[in-house]
């Protein structure tokens, strides 16, 4: 096929639930390709010899390789190729910001002069993961070495799986009562069904990984106890960026102001959406303001709709262009009825006599000079105050790293932001203690956390050879 002929193959639209219907239910929004669609979409790939897409994928999946298999309808073969580098394709195919990663560099998108017309790599990846079978995993012979993994997010899951495959005896420790990290407490069911995460955890157990929930490392036991008393030979710390940031606004501690972490944890992990069944109560705001512009803000605002809010405002102090959220989620949120208030920000939250939120003063912004991050920085317009009628405010302006492990582990080096410092093998300042994911990178992405878990596992295996 010539490139021209390939360009003529129509882009496949992923079926999704109707926007009006889905905005009020918790079921997955994007339904996934059919087999036929996956084949057609994969056949749009031109098999570029330089493979530019691969440079955009943080773990460098052999993209043309798996697309070629998928185009033939060999989804098992495609999944095998994906799994050589990525452990969580069903997750990443759904949540990667593809338009900024693999698809950004895709030649097809360049030819069509529209990144949205690039080969839908993530969607085909998702199809292969959901429907393909990569076969049984074989573990290397037992090494007799024991590895403790702290935190069960994508970094921990990946590191645990790779360590188990390398023949080590692995135990995964998680503070919550359910394993999965942000994938279970943060990202909602309608975007990432929890059954998919559970499948990955079950997979770990099949590899022989022991999963200990309700275990807070630093409190129940310390990292040093693992090494000195409990007979572990190496430890991996993947505790994520779980510390919610607040903005320091007047009124931020009023009743009805939540961190996105609390709001989403109540809804997802504690299943507050199962009204009448779940015991954890939920705050049913009617007019909800969500502050922020990332994936977390999108998830919180769409969750608010699903839990019965009549109006949901998403308030972001820059413009749509600067918004860090995945493009697809922004589209989805808009279609579902979230109102986007761009170049605006909260100034003060007001409360009534019982301490409940009863309104908010906002300010309008304009874009000034680019700041250190290269984005144009927002500047408040003096005198532009206006009132917004809300009864709930969700603060989704980012997470900092959880300080518990650094605070309870003597000699563990962290940087100014509290992120753990690691070398090129993801080893920390303490020999035998490795770290990766958001606790190292700051709030990042699933695929990056997964990549870090992989590199750390390789580092651990190397390190254990010398012991």
């Amino acid at each position: 096929m010539t490139p021209k002929e390939r360009m003529a193959i129509p882009c496949q639209e992923m079926p999704e639930q109707d926007a009006v219907v889905r905005a009020r239910n918790m079921k997955e929004v994007a339904l996934g390709f059919t087999a036929e669609q996956a084949k057609i979409e994969a056949s749009r790939c031109m098999q570029c010899p330089t493979k530019p897409c691969m440079t955009g994928c943080p773990v460098a999946i052999n993209i043309p390789g798996f697309l070629a298999k998928a185009a033939e309808g060999d989804f098992d073969g495609a999944l095998k190729i994906i799994k050589e580098t990525s452990l969580l394709p069903a997750v990443c195919g759904r949540v990667c910001p593809q338009e900024k990663q693999c698809q950004k560099f895709c030649t097809m998108g360049k030819l069509m002069k529209n990144v949205d017309k690039a080969v839908a790599i993530g969607r085909v990846e998702r199809y292969c993961a959901d429907h393909g079978d990569a076969g049984e995993v074989v573990c290397a012979p037992k090494t007799g070495k024991r590895v403790a993994i702290v935190g069960s997010g994508p970094a921990g899951i990946t590191c645990a799986a790779d360590c188990a495959k390398a023949g080590h005896d692995v135990t995964l420790f998680e503070a919550f009562h359910k394993a999965g990290g942000v994938l279970v407490y943060g990202i909602p069911e309608f975007r990432l069904p929890k059954s998919i995460v559970q499948k990955e955890i079950d997979g770990l157990k099949k590899l022989g990984v022991k999963v200990e929930t309700n275990y807070c490392v630093g409190r129940t036991r310390k990292v040093s106890d693992f090494l000195e008393k409990d007979g572990f030979d190496a430890v991996f710390v993947g505790t994520g960026a779980g510390l919610p940031k607040f903005m320091g606004l007047p009124g931020e501690n009023l009743v009805g102001v939540f961190s996105a972490n609390e709001y989403l944890t109540r809804a997802n992990l504690m299943k507050a959406y199962l009204e009448g069944e779940a015991e954890t109560p939920f705050w049913h705001g009617k007019k909800v303001a969500v502050l922020g512009g990332g994936n977390v803000a999108m998830d919180a605002s769409r969750m608010a709709l699903r839990l019965g809010a009549e109006k949901v405002y998403l308030i972001y102090r820059r413009s749509l262009e600067e918004m860090p959220a995945r493009k697809e989620e922004v589209h989805h949120a808009k279609a579902e009825g979230v109102e986007f208030l761009m170049l605006q920000n909260a100034k003060e939250i007001h409360g009534d006599e019982s301490g409940k939120v009863c309104g908010m003063t906002c300010l309008k912004y304009e874009l000034g000079e680019p700041d250190a991050s290269g984005r144009r920085s927002p500047v408040a317009i003096p005198g532009s105050e206006f009132e917004l009628d809300v009864d709930t405010v969700v603060v989704a302006v980012g997470n900092a790293s959880n300080p518990l492990i650094p605070a309870t582990t003597e000699g563990l080096e962290v940087n100014k932001r509290g992120n753990i410092v690691v070398d090129e093998h993801n080893m920390t300042s303490i020999p035998g203690v490795f770290a990766g994911g958001d606790i190292v990178l700051g709030a990042a992405t699933v695929i990056l956390a997964m990549g870090e878990g992989r590199r750390a596992a390789a580092g651990i295996t190397e390190y254990l050879k010398t012991k």
Partner: protein
Amino acid sequence: MNKIVAKEQLSENVFRMEVEAPLIAAERKAGQFVIVMIDEDKGERIPLTIADASKERGTITLIFQTVGASTLKMSHLEVGDSIAAILGPLGQPTHIMGRDGGKPGKVVCVGGGIGVAPMHPIAQALKAAGNDVTIIMGARNKGLFVMEKEMREIAGDKLILITDDGSSGRKGLVTEPLKELCEAGAVDEVIAIGPPIMMKFCALTTKPYGVKTTVSLNTIMIDGTGMCGGCRITVGDETKFVCVDGPEFDGHKVDWDQMLKRMAIFKPQEAAAKEHACNLYK
């Protein structure tokens, strides 16, 4: 799963339970708490103070009052049953004068209602560190006192009982003997644990005398590890997370009005859940 090895009813709606949790028993210090789940799938995560622990038996003791759905469910578990999940020990241990710095001195412990239970290990540690310990125990009426014997073992004749209705000990509020003790001078520290309103007034009582007053806040929590901010409260000019920065704070700096309002966030839903749970046990 944590097996219940002993259970005792201390008063009409207060229970003591000893449960298996060997790692927590080994690590815990006075003032720390656990998060308990009765049902891991749809249950709530509730914070409870570790009232006592035995390293030998590998158990911790919890003392709880049935105030809502989850504590009511917990009260219906029997010896041999298991609690689905216990996470801990969480929070900062109590600073014990004379042990963790400073010289031993005169300490007044004020326990209101169920607050006597979390006070017990603290009073024990204070005594062991050589402090002169006075204990004030307050309750609405005689039937609501818990652990009187244990507290008497620590304080001897320096145990002051006080009830709202005078059915046991003095009639009145805990702040009255507290004020007299401050008035008489030589109080180095007051530790108050009980309903927020009681702690608020204890702090107000000691403030004019400049007596350091430590309170243990019982805010609503979810994770207990610092990831949600649901337990946050203003102390001085700062926002603090009770589960990791506390649960103990300087009572003179706590924004009590905010604390009381935040405690009531889910009142309507909790009332409905309690009624539902009560009906289940009828």
